[in-house]
Homo-oligomer: 159 residues x 2
Amino acid sequence: MTPEQKNNLIEAFDAFLSKKHLRHTPERRAVLEKVVEITGSFSAADIHDILQAENLTLSLATIYSTFALIEEFGIIRRQDYSRRKALYERTGNSPKTFRATNQCHLICTSCGKTRIVTDADLTRYVAGLIFPRFTTTHTSINIYGICPSCNRKNKSKKQ
Amino acid sequence: MTPEQKNNLIEAFDAFLSKKHLRHTPERRAVLEKVVEITGSFSAADIHDILQAENLTLSLATIYSTFALIEEFGIIRRQDYSRRKALYERTGNSPKTFRATNQCHLICTSCGKTRIVTDADLTRYVAGLIFPRFTTTHTSINIYGICPSCNRKNKSKKQ
DNA sequence: ATGTATGCAAACCATTTGCAATGAC
DNA sequence: GTCATTGCAAATGGTTTGCATACAT
């Protein structure tokens, strides 16, 4: 994301808060900034740790409520593909591209790590699927298996 | 599933237990039968309730451990597409078709209900995807939105 | 001054685990 | 008789909730 896109997002989020008569707090600003900077998927704990490393400790409750706000704003989406914890991911660089993204995930069943990949054909195909009387909001394609790192570990174990 | 397929499965599971020197208990048999009869996805609580309605009360711990066994046997798969509870679904009518199935799910974000649908082209395409050094075991395509029933409810609310 | 946002601690709840009793072999 | 399996109850752990305090407006 370019610095300009980042600034636009921060301004747009400010406007979003104002429009909804919600307060502009340092906590909300801090979470938004980290969410905008991060690459790939992230959990509440991830953002908590990142902020803590900068000596800014927010409660997890605040982080969750801010995530909900940012999701409503329209640039992240909560993904529940592991029962253990919820992961969030950015769905575009502006609220306007929210609906356009249909992420595809590689999920390692050994270590739990996920990687977001894109396959234009697949995304287009899935976005085009229509089911009678079912109103699609978004899709998530999940590919489970063993990641390169765990594959290596398993190989060295066997030797 | 035909009665014949059902019997074949029960026999095959018996053989699976014997081969692994595991015990043939009434609990395991009961869970397997219900899992084989059920249509669509199911939770541990679902099977618990079904058995209880027949005056056979198993502990949830036993149901979970039997699910794990049946998953290893190869005819169900645990799906974690809701953070609240795990759903299992049959992946074929015999252990041999286990790998062939790559389910596609319609998930209602309003009521949580899921429906399994299949799209041959999509299944084939996704099964053909290859990622370097990532060993794919299975895939899950999830389509989120509002189901017909919830759509109707929303509509009548607005009137 | 007002009332929303935060942080703490407790609650939540499906699933897992430890352990004593049961029962398949 | 052995030892795997069951069932109970307690533990788990990410997320949510209730409430007192802090602070944006």
